[in-house]
């Protein structure tokens, strides 16, 4: 009865990376490689291509996932989370090991996979449903429900290229939310889209897991949603399993490991996070007179993002999450938060943009900056965990009580100074 839903034994995935900046092989490689191999074979030895390097994205993974578990997969960028999901969803083949499923599997690695901009919403529901593995009759049966969930009835016959990005994501989620697999694999997709719709989707996922005993594997960088949604956690690091078990314990361990970043992070051109449109080159935090990433709460904190734009993505949006050391997101700031005429322009080229966190806002503690670059509500360009951190020491009050030695930290996440005034007794509020 209670056989595990997924049994993973000795799972490993090795990638071959091409050097010399050549991501795509050329025809010449084929020809020269064939000759070199043939020559080597004649000489009776195996030939190593010096320009290719092997690299294990996932190694020696043994894991059992129980039926009905909702498992949060956490780990730093490049830890192998997406690789694990790709292996589980059969998109790519494992190099070693085996996986055994008990139940129908569906995966959602991206919202709106296969959506075609020229087709109408209605047509895309059918197409996307088929791509996610629903039969034609199944889609027809759930069609009205999907449309109702997506809240886009009026635009059903409009080509999706005319949709706002929010509508696009809604429709895509609505289709995915109506999948009825026994095992659902989800990669970070919930992080796009507006907050109320996200809540709706998370609610739907939780219902599915609670009431119908489905198993969900959920990759996320948001520790709060892992802690609230998942009962189990899996922590990957450098392609290996570090820890698994109770979701709270696993995320706590992950967060403890995370606190080893400095106040500056610079990427080399090869591994700068991003896509062909835009790459992040560096992130720095500083204060007017800070040292080693320690800033006084009485001074502003400057967060600088250096990035390069090759061609400007649609609805470009640069921002970051400010996270406490126990994983709570204090705030998210985007360069598009002010009124539109005041937005910084993201032309092609290299830019450094500064976000200034005002003085007198943050409480004492360690804060992490998690950069997020995206095409607004459509897709991620870079979605990073903590890359830099800074420590705030409390020192921003004008009152003598603020600076007393025992008040190292106040209760609460932030510590702004609010105005206080007395209301005369005879006036109504």
């Amino acid at each position: 009865m209670n056989a595990p839903a997924i049994t993973i034994e000795n799972l490993g995935k090795r990638y071959v990376i091409a050097h010399q900046g050549a991501a795509v092989h050329s025809f010449r490689d084929l020809v020269s490689g064939t000759f070199r191999r043939a020559g080597g074979r004649l000489a009776g030895r195996a030939v190593e291509d010096p320009r290719h390097e092997e690299f294990w994205a996932l190694r020696d993974l043994d894991l059992e996932i129980g039926k009905g578990d909702v498992v949060g997969v956490v780990g730093r960028n490049g830890a192998g989370k997406s690789t694990l999901l790709k292996l589980l969803s059969r998109i790519t083949e494992p190099t070693t090991g085996r996986i055994r499923f008990r139940g129908r599997v569906a995966s959602l690695l991206e919202v709106g996979t296969g959506f075609h901009p020229e087709l109408s919403g209605r047509e895309n529901i059918f197409l996307n449903g088929a791509i996610l593995g629903m039969g034609r009759s199944e889609i027809r049966r759930k069609f009205d429900e999907i449309v109702a969930f997506s809240e886009i009835e009026k635009f059903l016959d409009t080509p999706v290229k005319r949709y706002s990005s929010g509508m696009y994501v809604r429709l895509a989620f609505a289709v995915a939310a109506h999948l009825e697999p026994d095992i659902l694999l989800v990669d970070e997709v919930l992080a796009v889209g507006d907050a109320s719709f996200q809540r709706k989707c998370i609610g739907k996922m939780r219902d599915v897991a609670d009431s119908e005993g489905r198993t969900v594997l959920f990759v996320s960088h948001n520790m709060q949603s892992v802690q609230s949604l998942c009962n189990r956690g899996v922590y990957l690091k450098g392609g290996r399993l570090v820890d698994h078990g109770d979701a709270r314990e696993v995320t706590a361990r992950y967060l403890a490991d995370l606190s080893a970043v400095g106040s500056e992070r610079i990427w080399s051109a090869e591994d700068a996070p991003g896509n062909q449109e835009c790459r992040l080159r560096a992130v720095r935090v500083s204060g007017p007179d800070s040292a080693n990433g320690i800033v006084s709460s009485g001074k502003e904190v400057r967060v600088d993002f250096e990035f390069h734009i090759e061609r400007t993505p649609p609805a470009f949006c640069l921002g970051f999450d400010l996270m406490t050391s126990d994983g709570a997101v204090v705030l998210r700031s985007n360069h598009t938060d002010p009124a539109e005429p005041d937005w910084l322009r993201a032309a092609a080229g290299t830019h450094t943009w500064r976000c200034t966190i005002p003085a007198g806002l943050l409480n004492a503690g360690v804060y992490h900056v998690c950069p997020k670059i995206h095409a607004h509500e459509m897709y991620w360009i870079a979605h990073l965990d903590s890359v830099v951190q800074f420590e705030v020491v409390l020192d921003h009050g004008v009152s003598p009580f603020w600076n007393s030695a025992d008040a190292l930290s106040r209760p609460g996440v932030i510590s702004p100074i609010f105005p206080w005034q007395a209301i005369p007794a005879n006036t109504t509020p």
Binding site: V24, S26, S89, T92, R104, E118, L119, F126, A130, G135
Partner: protein, 278 residues
């Protein structure tokens, strides 16, 4: 809810084989949907889509008729009008060249699908060939109209047409599978395919008839299976006014079968790494 045993699935390193053909059948719905999507998208902007499918063969027919028939004074097939001789050959050729280039680009063009979901990858090139059948039907209608207006109607031989169409279909698929798979890893093939199609047009008897090929070269020339297909189309549509070099055509068909089986094997071999390199 149900007490029935949940389906079991085992993935093991180096053993994707066993369920492949079973999966291909299970994913046939996706095959229809992809073909349906490509057709919809192609003719969505009806005015441009359909009229382009009409204009291209018409203009090509006019140009070929003038250049080869009027200026070079090449003979047409028996008593048939030169324009009809040309269009009867353009019909399979346009189908073949479009199917081949669509098929070759299909995997790269659907890279987002390949890297985000699982399905037997063979579905993508196979469904892309189906789309060319719609254009084929459009050209066929033009030809029918032209034949009626010239009062030159085919006889019983037209019933053999499907056979030649199947050969063209399989030839496009066989070469297309190779190119599609190679294209994923070696993007240079993107430039090679249009070139192959271009050269193929000159090497195949589209603007002229294969009777102008000198007798001693005829056998070698007819090893190209598309020569047999085009001659076959003329033979079926123009009341037998064309000769098919049957011995060479048979060898050509064998070559196609060989190309298809090696193409399938190669495709299956590299398919498992598509998502990693695309």
């Amino acid at each position: 809810m149900s007490t029935q045993q949940p389906p079991e699935l085992i993935i093991e390193a180096g053993r994707g084989e066993a369920r492949y053909w079973q999966d291909l059948w299970a994913f046939r719905g996706l095959f229809y949907f992809l073909a349906w999507r490509d057709i919809l998208v192609r003719y969505k902007q009806t005015v441009i889509g359909v009229s382009w499918a009409l204009i291209r063969p018409l203009i090509t027919t006019v140009v070929f008729t003038v250049v080869f028939g009027k200026l070079a004074r090449l003979p047409s097939s028996g008593d048939s009008p030169y324009a009809i001789t040309v269009l009867a050959a353009l019909l399979p050729w346009m189908f073949f060249s479009q199917a081949l280039s669509d098929c070759s680009n299909s995997l790269v063009g659907n890279a987002n699908l390949v890297s985000k979901i699982y399905f037997p990858r063979l579905i993508v090139p196979a469904s892309s060939v189906i789309v060319s059948l719609v254009d084929f039907l459009i050209v066929a209608v033009i030809l029918a109209v032209m034949m009626v207006s010239y009062q030159y109607l085919p006889d019983w031989r037209v019933l053999c047409l499907p056979f030649f169409l199947v050969v063209a279909f399989v030839t496009a698929l066989a070469a297309g599978l190779w190119f599609a798979a190679l294209n994923v890893r070696y993007r240079d093939f993107r430039h090679i395919v249009p070139f192959v199609v271009q050269i193929g047009l000159y090497l195949s008897p589209v603007g002229f008839t294969s009777s102008v090929v000198p007798e001693q070269w005829r056998f070698l020339y007819s090893l190209n299976p598309m020569v047999g297909v085009i001659d076959g189309f003329r033979w079926s549509l123009l009341r037998g006014n064309a000769t098919i070099q049957w011995d060479a055509f048979a060898i050509g068909i064998l070559l196609v079968v060989l190309l298809l089986s090696t193409g399938l094997r190669y495709f299956r071999k590299v398919e498992r790494t598509f998502a990693d390199v695309i």
